[in-house]
């Protein structure tokens, strides 16, 4: 599965010019990491169409914005959200992908 993750915004402006980005094909991950990631993706409900992007709070300042894109042979899913609109089921996946992105820096 092809996974793309972007994190931008935030008080610190660290990801202002360039989002914190992570791009991976899960087949290229170590087995343990791959299993954990795929488990979180399944738990998120993204590929089942249970989750949809929602408009953000226009008065929010300094929140993080997130984008996840998932693509395999016969399914695709994309979600954009921020700290206030991220669905509960997606939070673990967001945190895991953020850590993977940092580990690559």
């Amino acid at each position: 599965m092809r996974v793309e993750f972007d994190l931008s915004g935030g008080y610190g402006g660290l990801f202002a010019k360039a989002p914190l980005a992570y791009r991976i094909d899960t087949k290229d991950l170590p087995a343990e990491t791959r299993e954990k990631l795929l488990g979180m993706i399944q738990g998120s409900g993204l590929l089942e169409g249970r989750i949809r992007s929602t408009a953000g709070n226009t008065l929010a300042r300094d929140t993080f914005s997130y984008r996840i894109s998932l693509r395999d042979a016969d399914r695709t899913a994309e979600l954009t959200c921020d700290d206030l609109t991220a669905p509960e089921a997606v939070r673990p996946l967001l945190g895991f992908l953020k850590n993977l992105a940092f580990a690559e820096r």
Binding site: G10, G12, A18, P19, N57, T58
Partner: protein
């Protein structure tokens, strides 16, 4: 149920904004007040969007009642939910949680500074209560304002420590609320960079006041108190010299420009609101070094009350210079300040 967002107001924002900009209407404040009211109502509608019907929406929502400028600190217990458990209210004794203590104390310092220095009664100048959420989420390395409350993460322990431990972070986020109820600067491109700029200005001024520092003694750094253990000495932004706050393998290099020659024109970060704020930040530093931070702040606060949602950098320079003239006339700032302000903005290319 299909929900359609309705942006319904009797007087469209565009007309209110022009009235505010031109200082027309009964008073310049009335047009801005109308915009602020509309924004507040929009926020209330957004927050209730999942649970109320379209009929209820069309019936309208009432304006928030005036508070008592009281502090309320909530512990989110590492969940992604605000207002989890209220752990300290105004006047309550100190708890064992340092983040609760810091958030409570710093919010009080910011609130009291606004009242004492610019005669502003809390965020909305109507004694709005100060709602603070600590321990938000897990490894959450951020803090934000969302229209009616502030929220702070604990950091990840590596790059950042707890965001509630920094007075300038609390002041920065609370000032987003002040901007919301004054100029209501829209959060993209130059108006958004100005929005960020005013939050950094008040963050710096309040920190200097609390530490009893003058402009020459201050470090003019933003976020230095929350850097993680391996990043001691680094910071998130430098108002004195944008672009020098950090340079390391973990964070990368500070991307803020100090001059319009390096203005960021890309799409990221809402067209650079945290990037291009460096340019007016340096201008404020230059004015503060000349006339002192307290006097510079009086000019900037006066200007904030006379700006409008789509104001750009050129508009801000014009308004800030005008504010300097007015405050020179009433002897708040010394003669010659208007020229110093122009020079400061010239130095950053504005």
């Amino acid at each position: 149920m299909i929900f359609h967002r309705c942006d319904c107001r009797y007087v469209p924002d565009a007309i209110l904004e022009n009235l505010a900009k031109r200082g027309e209407g009964k008073t310049p404040v009335s047009a801005r007040a109308s915009l602020q009211q509309a924004n507040m109502k929009r926020k209330q509608r957004e927050s209730q969007a999942r649970s109320i019907s379209m009929d209820a929406l069309m019936a309208g929502v009432s304006a928030p009642s005036a508070g008592t400028a009281s502090r309320e600190v909530y512990d989110c217990a590492h969940k992604w939910e605000q207002r989890g458990k209220r752990v300290r209210s105004e006047g309550d004794p100190t708890t064992a949680d340092d983040d609760v203590t810091n958030a409570y104390d710093f919010a009080g310092i910011v609130r009291d500074f606004y009242l004492r220095e610019v005669n502003r009664n809390s965020i909305d100048n109507a004694a709005m209560n100060l709602i603070l959420n600590v321990h938000y989420g897990t490894d959450y390395m951020n803090a934000f304002w969302d229209g009616d409350e502030m929220t702070f993460g604990d950091g990840d322990g590596s790059i950042f420590t707890s965001f509630a431990r920094s007075l300038d972070v609390v002041a920065h986020e609370l000032t987003h609320g002040v901007t919301q109820f004054t100029a209501s600067l829209e959060y993209y491109s130059q108006s958004g960079a100005l929005n960020e700029h005013f939050s950094d200005v008040f963050g710096a001024a309040i920190t200097q006041d609390h530490l009893r520092q003058d402009a020459g003694q201050a470090d003019w750094l933003v976020g230095d108190e929350i850097m993680g253990p391996t990043l001691f000495g680094e910071a998130l932004r430098s108002m004195k010299m944008p672009g020098t706050a950090y340079d390391n393998s973990l964070m990368g290099k500070d991307q803020q420009p100090a001059h319009m020659n390096d203005y960021y024109t890309g799409p990221n970060d809402n067209q650079g609101v945290h990037i291009n704020s460096g340019i007016p930040n340096r201008a404020f530093y230059l004015v503060a070094i000349d006339i002192g931070t307290p006097k510079a702040l009086q000019i900037w606060y006066h200007a904030l009350q006379n700006l409008w949602p789509k104001a750009n950098f050129s508009d801000a320079v014009e308004v800030i210079v005008r504010s300097a003239q007015i405050l020179t006339k009433n002897k708040t700032v010394p003669v010659g300040t208007t020229q110093l302000v122009r020079m400061a903005f010239n130095e950053v290319g504005l």
